[in-house]
Symmetry: D4
Subunit: 251 residues, 8 copies
């Protein structure tokens, strides 16, 4: 039931074709999302540039392919599609559906880009502390791009060699939102956030061993950041960081 | 050593009053922040609208008053001042320095507003799940306002009574950034983030008892949010959430 | 806006006093809980026998008294009132509002009983393992009673002296719902659940020291119960256990 | 030794065929459960509708088959049999014992239904937040059905898309007991419990990654639920939730 | 109902003064502990030399005094009494009941010794690593003595100064059971257990700070002891260690 | 340097063949264990009945076989040998060294019994709560037997079916030391310890799932036991429990 | 028994006043530390420049004064004395013993300097991230100085304002050992260690709130440092860091 | 831009070929590490004897070989190369690049020694508590040697058999730095640190099971060491301990 349906209902009441009691009953049980909520939801998705997202992990290639086929069916739809944590077997299956599919081996993501509009106002910079953080960083990068943002990468600039980081001060200064991916002690977001005036989205990674406790050390480090423009997402949640950055960049 | 100093040095070299070797030596040990880094830092603070902030907890009223006096000294400075986690005794001491000081009893914050410019582009909405979360929510609210933002509050709309929340859909829809403060299970940010298309900054609080573990339950809930426009700050870090929201809102 | 309001609106449309567009606009923004949701909520509260509940901890006697006065105001209301985690000073303030207030010193609860109807179908038995668990057990007992249940207590029947427990087999067998309160190793719910065929609500308590970790040992013990008719509430949540037991007992 | 045996003993004493001392000795060492305890236990199992349950994990197909054969042996027994966490190899072995065995691929459960009596008074509704929670939800569903309950499923209604949940308000309202299965932030039980007046059994799942800590985040969220008709079972304990729900539903 | 009662019952049946059915009914509901279980329990307590124990913490001086008076009442009873975690105010109250009470200021224990029989076969040696572990060590010492054991103390022989410990090799070799109390890294039990051939009961203490986590570091160290004659009790449970040592020493 | 060496040294001094200074120097640097310490150590091992123990896990069959060959070499040695956490491949290799080797499939232990003397004074009873605890229980059983004790097993007597446990009261009462193995809530040691007057060594197992956290729930339950004759060893440390029980039983 | 005693013994043997057997017996039971071990220990303490240390916390002023008096008694002793975690009341009591006592209000330490020799070869630099870390940093500083080292402080150079730190590159480069004290995310040691080639001793502090978990976040950050010249001491263990730095600096 | 470049720039200014403004601009954007920072960094690496290090884990043999080829390319470079956590397949690939590669099977490290200069002033002694700690101990040993130190090993001297350790007192006394590797209770560093006057670097290992929690028990034990010359690195971080020891030993 959408706006038009409600209009019809009200006109039926006006015309006497529907009693007050009948209309009351129908309105009472009206799924409120049919009053526009679902649509607004839908519009919101479009407005945010949220790509349609499929979590590849735990699904068979056939299952993913079937979902992709369903998503591509509606005519006129121009959403980008993003499949996270996939692999080459899933990619092969998706490729049979559409030649537009592209595999990103560093992150295991698959994208089907149907809309190249850049909706984000600035550049999202994805920074990683070490080389082992790159898969998560790439997931953030691909997600941000799939949602209509210019996004760039800057990898392996950890805090124990500050001069590497310092060399990129201008690149950091040029970003509108920064996603900062780090494992181990998770100190990079604090250092970067102290150098810039934009929001820094920190992503702890589960790299490391021993007392890194699968990313907990980095997570706690980031939550306790002494910089006040840092917020944090879940361990290894590169996708989520890319989404948050995109939502901010499209404001 | 600032830009003018370097110009002078170069002119001394040109004029032959300083040998190449001497100039090299001085440039080599030049604190690089004197090349503008510190200044840029200062400008950044101004640009972000960061109020000067003093953490009141653990300081005597006399100490806080002394710091405030120092901050007010520079002529022409128009920063707002924010003292977090203070109390009435600190307020009394600060009030003797300046009549502009205002105490916010709900959060224990003190503000000295010298600059009423609204620099944030939209409204920051601070939402709390329960009444016991209000001190932290107020801290976020006061911080956001002190940094030049329009900020509004919406309290006691926890997820176990969704109808209360639903009533404020328009208020939620009108915000440019949302700070969402919740203790216990910390579910409110997920629910709200699903209703809007803007960034949601989640603040877990240490309210609750038993298996809330001083806010850990809420923190974990927020980090695992099934909504993808949520990022998180430290437990009870209302101030930090206000800062992050302000940085986003001023983009 | 309640049912009557919607009826009026529809009649205004019918009578032509309100245009279809105007009605549509009003219905669109209609807080859906005003379509009956809030009322249903209210009715549900009544149906469940939920007493109105005030958490006393952290409130001044004056604040509690004011809330009580507000709750007693609506004519015809017959809800029982329950104030948890209160003390004698709060009780004195509440007593000045109504002579019906009664203080329960073991749990620190205050009840104002206005409705003595027994709505629960059977008896709720509240069992505690040790004497130090009694405050939490009493909170469950008082809550269950305030919500219209027959509730009885059986204290100090810990598992290291099974014969004490065995003596009460019939009492256990007679209960329709059992609330089982235990600290330390939290083993009592497993033992009792193996002796009966009714739901056992387990409440871990924060009594104990060292590796009890404030009730975590008991909580984990209960969650890992080898009996399959046990479910668990938060550490020290006697009130919650009483509520769950009441909801079950009124089915 | 059962009631009849004791009667015989007493009659032997009466008849002088057994001396007082001999009878005393036999009664003293009488396994007390033979005085009726074991029988009551047995009767209780029947009364609760507890299916005979075998944990399949960690057993070979041959072992499970042997146990099933033993359970089916007693004449007149009409218990349903439930094998949890099994697989197709175990199913093949069980199928050779009885054609009545049925495999439930979503949960890995096997049921042998010999008694179709519906003993539960209402409907048990099993709700899941996400698709990855379905195996645990199905385990609860199958367990509830095997114990003689009408049970229905409602999947993928997580809190970040409330409109999906709202559409099923009537289904929720019609249930007598609700099992609510969720991973990640575990917020769904709080939201649902606020919408209904019946007991909600919350089951955290180990789905998720990073700071979900194998279901701990969801577990803590559920234990800290702000709704007071929620109780909790162990992580991934769909079977336990089905049992608790069945015990309640048969009251 | 004790053995004599059952004999009477059987004789009444024999004599026809009690019908078989009546006797059956009475035997069925016979609290099984009355068949001797409670008595055996009582005898066991005597046999183990368990002193009657009162936990002083959380009780008022009047309450403790009342319990002591009750325990002293039965004629002929010769149990020792032990009150743990008491203070001088409780001692004053107990002293008014009996002049035999003695206060142990190091551990806060009170003993009322009525039976000086040494029931333990050897010496229990209580060893502590540091001076701050002495209160817990003394609790173990006093408990062991109150239960009829020769017990000696050896304090401040931590592992970072092995020569101190080595000087007491003979004392260690002479003990039949060793209680070993240590905080911080909890290494002393491993070292001592490697030097002797008798059971070592390890007691972690909550002394220390930072990453000692209230005794968890010591507890884990002891549980992971590389010596195989070490078993462990709860953090700060000097009383429990004394009991375990006494039970072993009386074998 | 052993006793004979020291005697020779002293005689050389007496005979004037060694100066006082030379002797002093040699004695000063004398490895003190050569003064008898190592030997005493060796004697202690014999006295305790410690079998020579090899941890099989992580060693190749060839490595284990080589160690066994070395241990069997000394003439006259009559130690039993125990290899824990081995498998059939290791057993095959050991069997080639000695036909006396015996494999215990339930625990994965291998024993080589060369000394059948029973040195323990009573019976060690190994009790397990569930069937999945049996491998750990068997390890305790085999270890206790290899160290010269009579040891018996009593399995699957968990606390949710007390009548099973009650049936074995006499068996429990007859033991001199009890090893109690349990996973899940770890409640069995408390229940058993309340029924007997002998030391109970509690072994938590890592069976279970979810909030059992690999045996932590059982471990905490046991450390918090409300019975005072319980001490605890590491999770899954059946071997250690067997050793502790043996040391006690040989006192 | 010291070196002289052994010499006498050997001379008695030589002189025939002691039989070989008697001497053997005495040497066998010779506390090995009397063979020089204790003395070496004593010498080691002197050599390391370990000041005699008293932990003030938990001791009365009278107790501390008594220990100080004992330590000052031996003639010729020139150790410095260090009392950690003391207060002004303890200081007053110590001052009555010796006018040489000096109170350090920032750390609560008291020093009695009797030996001003600088034994450390270079400078120990104590760096702190924030102002709230200063008490712990001062404890390290005072300890290092009391043990005969040149030690300097550099405070409030946290990683969110790198330019502050960069300004002190030369000071950092000049140190032989660096103690680095930080709370919150504990990132400073990694950054500093990347700038220098000397050992960095990292001290996490318990400052902070929420997910700093009393210093655990900083501790984990430091343990996971991506720099390889960092080692760590316990949370708030400024004293220990000063000791480790001193031991290194005196090499 | 290096020193020579700056000299040229200054001479161009002097010669008037570059205006002051142009030079200012170039100097302003001068990557500060080009002012010598990177070079100093490079020199520091040489001075510390840091070998070039590659983490083998997670890299393919081809990848490692490629990096090694790159590192060997610069003429005149004499760095040693260290590849940690490698295996025989990686070794085969590296061996094809250079015959100088050597595989260390105990630790899985590969070294390419090009510089045999001993830069460390004393001996680094690597001690392990048990045989299962040897892989980590070997990693420390190989790293220390690759960085130009004399390093020796002393394995299997755990605290439950002190006499083994005592026999090596002189070896311990001769070391300039000690790396102490231990799992389980992690007590060895405390014991050793009490016997020597040099820095002890403690390395917890993840050996053990149950409540060792992957090395957490050992880590906590070491952080809480009662000896004050102990500092700690991450669990299993043999490489880091070797680095820290080398940095100290080269002072």
């Amino acid at each position: 039931m959408d706006e038009r349906d409600i209009r019809q209902l009200l006109e039926q009441v006006k015309a006497g074709r529907l009693s007050t009691a009948q209309a009351l009953e129908r309105l009472k049980h009206l799924p409120f999302e049919d009053l526009g909520f679902a649509k607004i939801d839908h519009h919101r998705a479009l407005r945010q540039g949220y790509a349609e997202v499929i979590l590849g992990r735990g699904k068979t290639p056939a299952q993913v392919a079937e979902i992709v086929r369903g998503m591509l069916r509606p005519k006129g739809s121009r959403h980008n599609l993003l499949i996270t944590r996939a692999d080459r077997r899933i990619f092969a299956a998706v490729r049979r559906i559409t030649r537009a599919a592209r595999f990103h081996p560093l992150s295991g993501a698959i994208t089907i880009q149907r809309n190249k509009t850049i909706a984000g106002k600035g550049t999202i910079l994805v920074v990683s502390a070490g080389t082992s953080d790159i898969p998560i960083a790439e997931e953030a990068l691909v997600a941000a791009q799939a949602m209509g943002n210019r996004a760039e990468a800057l990898y392996d600039v950890g805090v124990a060699g500050l001069h590497r980081l310092m060399e990129y001060r201008e690149k950091l200064a040029a970003a509108r939102v920064i996603v900062c991916v780090a494992g181990m002690e998770g100190a990079l977001p604090s250092v970067i956030a102290g150098m810039v005036g934009v929001p820094v989205i920190a992503v702890p990674t589960s790299t490391g061993y021993g007392a890194s406790f699968g990313g907990v050390a980095a997570l706690l480090g980031m939550l306790n950041s002494c910089a006040s423009n840092v917020s944090v997402v879940n361990i290894d949640n590169g996708f989520g960081a890319g989404c948050v950055a995109s939502v901010i960049n499209r404001l």
